[in-house]
Amino acid sequence: MSAERRNEPGNLKWFLTGMRGVLSLPALILMTSYVGFAAFALQAGLTRAESVIMTLGVWALPSQMILVGSMIGGANIVASFLAVTLSAIRMMPMVASIVPEMRTQKTPVWLLLFLSHFIAITSWVFASTHLRDVPRQHRVAFFAGFGLTLTCGNAAIVGISYGIVSQFPPVVAGALFMLTPVYFISSIWASSRQFVVKLAFIIGIAAGPLLALVAPQFDVLIAGLGGGTVAYLIDRYRRQRRRAVEEAA
């Protein structure tokens, strides 16, 4: 990135603009969630350093909860790996959908591999919402500024709040917990420009809880792959039919 930054004087500015993104509502919501994680890690018997390293190294709250949970349960390393990796498969399409929007022809693969570590749900939503407003050659710097700051900031929050906050009052904790899903709902809907994304949104929201009842181990995976594919096929059929009508007219 240093080489690119030398060539592109505007990159530092965009990096800083990305950094400022951590003062946004979603980032603040995530921070409160990480205060909750610190409390959970303490109860589970992790040290402060382990909690911080896990936050930096895994950087996906659901996966971290699962890893800590499997540690409490005394699962062996293979079982822990499987449980965590199953929860992380969703990262692949999330990263794959951001990369084409973020890179330029010249962006080196190693840089994308490095930056992919900072993609989790919050930064995926942030990237899907804001990347399109950033000039293409500065998108990597913009995302790096946001992603690095968000991850390091939350690791710091885990380190600081470890042992301080053990519990929020119930109504506050409930409201905090609800913030994350309702934020995702409104921001993803507001940022979806294509019909196919709106369709996938609706199908995913319905399929997630329904499949959780039927196939609790693979619900998210089936809802994503199956629901996404159905949304895509419906959208493609719709586009083809419209094209056919236009050609006929």
Partner: protein, 113 residues
Amino acid sequence: MMLEEYWTYILIVVAGFIATDFWRWLGVLAGNRLNEESEALNWVRAVATALVMAVTAKLIVFPTGVLADSPLWLRLAAAGIGFCVFLLTGKKVAVGVIAPIAILVAGLFLLER
């Protein structure tokens, strides 16, 4: 004691870092082949969106922690009515967040009495 500490870090690296970043790296390799206007990216976007929304809906329907004690109808009403308010008031994200939270908190207070 030393070995035990060491072991937790190995667990974090193998069952945490590698277990999650493996998929991120595959995502980079796959995404790097996709053109921004390509048909395949449409599909990947749909899959990613459906995945995230499935996770999101599960957070509301099957919450962990304190919300698990609140009635499902209240959480669904808060999210559903809140989303309608959001749609009807010009799709401001702040409204989409505040409206459902306000409904939920009001409901929690009323139920406590």
